[in-house]
Symmetry: C2
Subunit: 234 residues, 2 copies
């Protein structure tokens, strides 16, 4: 099939398509997960892949990523960040396509199940991922690495939790991200010393009989600290 590529001034011959792919991380209070999709179009139809789409001419790459994420998860205004662009000549077996990968962090609890069915999506544990098409496995590996690095210095972990969460939940999340166990006393001390959590007087008793106090992330306080030049680290 032939397509028309129109530029205003540049006299360039180029046959490259531009797509986005989204690595969607989720956390369900127990494990860190990845949302994968059974591919609905050729080539590689029926295999597991990240969700992606071609960019429209009148939409920015960021907008393209936002849109595909909204369509498949029903979620808006969620954490979404560009990861890396994948541009090998034969990365897509059906044509010359470069893909700008994004990763997103959501709370599994706030995610619409309806979308899962409609798009043939499935949450996979990070240590039980199936084979993925093209270079999507590489994208996922890069995203996991990036998440580990980023979580240390920016409070992005909170995007994976519901608005109210407990300290033990937060600890399990960080243990999942870093893939190592943390000392409960030291973790609590460190996270509370940052003074970016607001304690409520409610308890979540789903995890224990005693129940754990619910906290919420105080973004205003955090931003103020960053503005003062805080060298944040968890």
């Amino acid at each position: 099939m032939k397509l028309i590529n129109n530029t205003d001034i540049y006299t360039v011959q180029q046959n490259i398509l531009v797509a986005v792919d989204c690595i969607i991380f989720g956390f369900d209070s127990k494990k860190l997960k990845l949302l994968l999709f059974k591919r609905k179009v050729a080539p590689s139809k029926g295999l597991w892949s990240l969700i992606g789409a071609f960019i429209k001419d009148d939409q920015s790459v960021d907008e393209g990523a936002k849109q595909i994420l909204f369509e498949t998860t029903g979620l808006k205004d969620i954490y979404l960040e560009q990861l890396k662009t994948y541009g090998n000549v034969h990365r897509d077996i059906a044509g010359r396509v470069i893909s700008i990968a994004y990763y997103s962090l959501i709370s599994v609890r706030e995610f619409e199940l309806e979308s899962v069915e409609k798009y043939d999506a499935h949450w996979f544990d990070l240590d039980e991922l199936p084979n993925l098409i093209f270079d999507h496995g590489e994208m996922v590996a890069d995203a996991i690495k990036q998440l580990k690095t980023k979580a240390k210095h920016q409070p992005i972990g909170f995007n994976l939790l519901p608005k109210y969460f407990t300290i033990p939940e937060l600890q399990i999340l960080y243990e999942s991200i870093y893939q190592q166990e943390l000392d409960a006393r030291n973790f609590r001390k460190k996270i509370l010393s940052l003074d970016i959590l607001t304690k409520t007087n409610k308890k979540d008793k789903s995890g224990s009989k005693k129940g754990a106090f619910l906290y919420t992330f105080n973004k205003e306080k955090f931003d103020a600290l960053i503005a003062e030049g805080l060298n944040f680290e968890i």
Copy 2:
């Protein structure tokens, strides 16, 4: 002008061009600098910009970046890393072009002056940058930020120095990157304690009468340490 965009299977209408732009950092033993070019084509001809090029159909995006870098600096096998992709609809005033930005680190001393003249290039101090076309200013700001972050945990600084360098030179480099003064004794202690530098018995007397010993970066040792799980930080 109309162009043909051919894909094998995908039935997509898309009129987007794909380019790369390179942010080239250099260090001359005194200051951190940026290599900028007087643009030779419309639009915005004659204004300062990063060097860039359109990707060819049969070349990966990484290869495209490598090629433009080689053509303009004469340098091969130098540090080159993808920064970010810029994809706003109207970022280029002459058409829909997305650009994958790369940044590169070189030693100004090892750089061919010949290329500078041929391509109308100029080294600018980081604090005296001219206005740049399109979103190139944003690219540069992002690259500086990335360089700061990355230099802390990976030994990329050495790419900005010639093979043999002195500790005071290295310190000035890190001071330029972090934009803050460092204590000479503490810096020397820390960098030497990493045990990744090999001392030679030669001195560089260009900086002082006494002269400073020349060192060289020991990549083998560094890689071995990383393999052991070293949590590197400068």
